[in-house]
């Protein structure tokens, strides 16, 4: 089902971050060599949740297009996985979500697209770290 309202998109983003945090905590238990970096991802997910929520609550106004800005199909952006190998693909989808959400929320006050863009960038950096981790894992895991 397509998400159209700001409230739906914020809830979806928070859910993504929460699920990701749990996933990385779980992976950290199983891939001890990448434990610290995976736990840092989980911590970052929880910070993202707080930041997304705070930004939304600080700038939401009924006077601009909160209910009419988004056309987000959540299925396009989610990938259920419990293995490290799939996390790069999962991150790519999440980066696309935040990039699309940033583009579509241009009509909202600037803080909302800004936080989406910032998280997309952080997830891009995370993707590179995951690729490195997987590369190392070919020999070590």
């Amino acid at each position: 089902m397509e998400l159209n309202t700001a409230s739906e998109v914020i809830s979806f983003a928070k859910k993504l971050e929460e699920e990701n945090a749990k996933l990385y905590e779980d992976l950290a238990q199983r891939y001890m060599e990448g434990r610290e970096i995976l736990l840092s991802f989980a911590r970052e997910n929880r910070k993202n949740m707080v930041q997304i929520e705070r930004t939304y609550y600080e700038v939401i106004t009924d006077a601009i297009e909160g209910c009419f800005s988004f056309k987000i199909n959540p299925d396009e952006y989610t990938l259920k996985t419990d293995t490290l190998n799939k996390t790069v693909e999962m991150e790519e989808r999440i980066i696309k979500f935040y990039s699309d959400a940033a583009e579509q929320s241009k009509s909202l006050l600037a803080d909302v697209p800004r936080v989406f863009t910032m998280i997309a960038k952080k997830r891009g950096e995370r993707k590179s770290k995951l690729e490195e981790l997987l590369q190392k894992g070919k020999t070590n895991f």
């Binding site: 309202t5 006077a63 009419f68």
Partner: protein, 496 residues
């Protein structure tokens, strides 16, 4: 999408808040506060007696001298505490608004945020309330002006923004050292009760802030009370005119923000996609129940292709709006606030048909998301071929109905706007600075939007209005509010 949890679990019995106490009314006239989406009763509200109104005024009058002597900095600190409590209770306050009014959760959160912004601005009172001076108006003589609070003010609140609208006034009244009485709309008074609970928790002294529930009789008693120094009102134009006249007769200050019929002018060079999104909020946000809603859409073009393309996009977007209970996050438009409001809107739709407008999107048989009675719901409605003089072009419908007109150029569009008796919030959508400037310069509207569909001024600007949309001199919010709630005292001094 799952429904957000409802904060009201059982039927509330609402009481007056007078002199820092929650007081049961002795009146036997009790109304139900109904959730317009579910039609379930949320609360019982009593229509207060004249004695109870008098008690509130007396409490406010007695509290005034001490509150006035509380320093502006100390008054600001009460407001800082209130702001923190509002932030702590943000989500609950928002969900209560959705339950009692029907608006979507995004809209309610937006309303809560706007309300908090009023408190934030009023905390700047030590600077905002400063007077000014000039030394040596003659040799050795100085002159200065002091802004002083006046006494007891009241607010008669509308139903459409039950939380925010009283906050256009109360924080400024309190910050300037006045005492205040709010009469919430009996249709959705719960969020004002929640706000008063926070005022109480913030430690606002007894009598400084009071709530008296009721309808017309309570309003009349407040208007006629000799100890009320000023009245703020937001509501319909006919009632606003009565209040303005009564305040004139009794020498009270008044801000009467009234009805509207706002024009949205669409130029051929607009950004179509973003304009349509903005217009959805403007025409159908808050289910069209706001004085800044778009009502008449004027498409400016002699080019049939542009006209048709834009209208198709507008109608297409309107037809896809999800209507239902606002605590479902996917909902884009809630119900009308009451069944009677819905009937009134349907009456206007029928009138539009009779007068020859072409109904191109009929919202009378609502398609509601979820299992709710369709009692108060409507879907968006769009009329084409509307012309000045038709009832649906001239009168405030206060519902999700868009009347589409056509103008050959900007001059004609501005003429159409200015011929209307209201002047609240007109807007133009264009990428031309010249057209925007011309519109801003000539349009007779107190609030003007340029690529903004809801021209709602921020807390630090006045909420303006012209013609039949406003009666008074100074407006709510911002520096106007500071001036409204204070008297200028001029001192000329010479020392021998």
């Amino acid at each position: 999408m799952a429904l957000l949890e409802e904060p009201i679990k059982e039927i509330l019995k609402l009481r007056n808040y007078i002199n820092g106490e929650w007081v049961e009314s002795e009146s036997e006239q009790i109304l139900d506060v109904v959730n317009p989406a579910t039609q379930k009763t949320l609360a019982k509200v009593t229509m207060s007696t004249k004695d109870e109104v008098n008690a509130a005024v007396e409490a406010a009058r007695e509290a005034f001298p001490e509150w006035r002597q509380t320093t502006p900095l100390a008054r600001a600190r009460y407001l800082f505490r209130l702001k923190e409590l509002m932030e702590d209770n943000f989500e609950q306050l928002s969900r209560v608004q959705t339950m009692e009014h029907g608006k979507t959760i995004d809209e309610s959160r937006g309303e809560t945020r706007r309300g908090i912004e009023m408190v934030e601005v009023a905390t700047g009172i030590p600077s905002l309330m400063m007077g000014y001076n000039l030394e040596d108006i003659a040799t050795g003589i100085d002159e200065y002006v002091i802004y002083q609070p006046i006494g007891v003010f009241c607010h008669i609140a509308p139903f459409n923004f039950p939380f925010m609208v009283p906050l256009w006034f109360s924080p400024f009244a309190l910050a300037t050292g006045n005492t205040f009485i709010v009469k919430p709309s009996p249709r959705d008074p719960i969020s004002q009760v929640k706000l008063a609970e926070l005022m109480d928790e913030a430690g606002i002294p007894p009598g400084v802030y009071n709530i008296v529930h009721g309808g017309v009789d309570v309003s009349t008693n407040l208007l006629e009370h000799p100890d009320i120094k000023g009245v703020t009102f937001v509501g319909s134009t006919p009632v606003g005119k009565v209040i303005y006249r009564k305040c004139g007769e009794t020498g009270k200050r008044v801000i009467a923000q009234c009805g509207a019929k706002n024009f949205m002018i669409v130029m051929p060079d607009c950004d179509q996609e973003r304009t349509v999104a903005a217009l959805m909020t403007s025409f159908f946000g808050n289910t069209g129940q706001r004085c800044l809603s778009g009502a008449n859409l004027v498409i400016v073009s002699e080019d049939d292709a542009f006209y048709k393309k834009f209208l198709d996009a507008f109608v297409g977007a309107a037809s896809k709006i999800k209507v239902g209970y606002g605590l479902d996050e996917s909902i884009q438009m809630g119900p009308m606030q009451t069944v009677d409001s819905k009937k009134s809107v349907i009456g206007y739709i029928e009138c539009g048909i009779r007068e020859g407008a072409k109904l191109i999107l009929d919202g009378r048989k609502p398609n509601v998301v979820g299992d709710y009675p369709d009692t108060a719901f409507l879907n968006p409605t769009v009329f084409e071929g509307v012309t000045p003089g038709m009832t649906i072009c001239e009168e405030e419908i206060f519902g999700p109905v868009a009347s589409v007109l056509r103008a050959k150029d900007l001059d004609e569009a501005i003429e159409i706007c200015n011929a209307n008796s209201y002047g609240n919030g007109d807007a133009i959508f264009t990428s031309s600075g010249k057209a925007a400037r011309e519109f801003q310069y000539r349009v007779e509207s107190g609030n003007v939007g340029i690529n903004i569909g809801i021209v709602a001024p921020m807390a630090f600007f006045p909420f303006s209005g012209m013609k039949d949309s406003f009666f008074g001199v100074l407006h709510g919010q911002g520096r106007d509010a500071i001036r409204f709630f204070t008297e200028s005292k001029v001192v000329i001094q010479r020392w021998f």
